[in-house]
Symmetry: C2
Subunit: 194 residues, 2 copies
């Protein structure tokens, strides 16, 4: 941020009076420009004994497999956003069923909210951001080609709970150990054993 | 938003190519300025058979009672943010225990994430944004002086589950019927009977 979006004067990064965190503050109109983490919403689209994955047509992680998900938009709910992203990326119509994971990625200022969703019919296909979209049984999931740790974690919890016959709701954090995501730690508030 | 925070040129509100939603786009450097809903994080601080409420020293709803909660900051997790807000507003040290509610307020672009938290000791008091802070048993909760529907809903679910002897995790939406919040509708994905 270089300039004030209110008055176009230059901004200065400092801790405002009564605050404890540096903010961009306008040198002219004194507007404080707060920044906050973004919500990413998506779902696990279920069809009979399979789930739907999308192969990414965009960076980062071009060519890797992911669950449909994207930034929550103004004026929509998390469930509406998850259904919209599934329509856009996988051309699939889902009924959002239940919250499944809420996972913080504090190092990149994202909070993922993933639901379980039921496909209303077997119709699907690649949206603009997908190379291909495919239904997968657990045995065929391309584990070494999953785009993001948050997707890998959500899928692993999903198949574990599916085997158990009952789905929980999991809130946790994923932290990478280095600049890369190859090495990451995960912890959940309500599943210490994981 | 009037000006580009990148280059200070004026912005224009239109639907970018390949998008479906109007965005503020810079007329000079073409930066697209996305806006997204904000996460509000907080907790129900528990001490033995009571919970801790704060009376607001700021608008909106000056003088009304609320749970400690505020905007999630960059680089913190939702649980860290909830604990920080509890420290700031109620001067109370909590261990965040488990996710309790995720409630969308799409009309004001907020998503509330509320946890249950255990007070590490009986020490508490009014932070800068609180007039007073008090431990309440269920029978003494000032229901007609609660600041926000999202707090009222979280408290009602909390005491219902406490009576049941087991706490769920609830994802839902609150929509107001008019410009005011006196009249609102609530729905949960996993508790249709509520």
């Amino acid at each position: 941020m270089n300039f004030c979006s209110n008055c176009a004067a230059s901004v200065d990064l400092h801790v405002p009076k009564g605050d404890s965190i540096p903010r961009y503050v306008c040198r002219s109109c004194n507007t404080i420009h707060y920044t906050n983490p973004k919500l990413v919403v998506g779902c696990i689209p279920e069809w009979e004994d399979t789930i739907l994955l999308c192969r990414r047509a965009i960076e980062p992680r071009y060519g890797f497999w992911t669950l449909p998900a994207g930034f929550l938009e103004d004026f929509e709910t998390t469930a509406q956003g998850a259904a919209r992203e599934t329509q856009e990326e996988a051309l699939a119509n889902v009924e959002i069923n239940e919250l499944f994971t809420l996972i913080n990625l504090p190092q990149i200022n994202q909070v993922y909210v993933m639901f379980r969703g039921i496909m209303r019919n077997q119709s699907f296909g690649p949206g603009a951001e997908s190379l291909e979209v495919q239904l997968y049984r657990e045995e065929r999931i391309p584990w070494d080609r999953i785009a993001f740790p948050v997707v890998e974690q959500t899928l692993k919890l999903y198949f574990r709970d599916k085997r158990r016959g009952s789905f929980g709701i999991y809130a946790g954090d994923i932290m990478r150990s280095t600049d890369q995501w190859e090495d990451y730690q995960v912890s959940y508030l309500n599943d210490k054993e994981w």
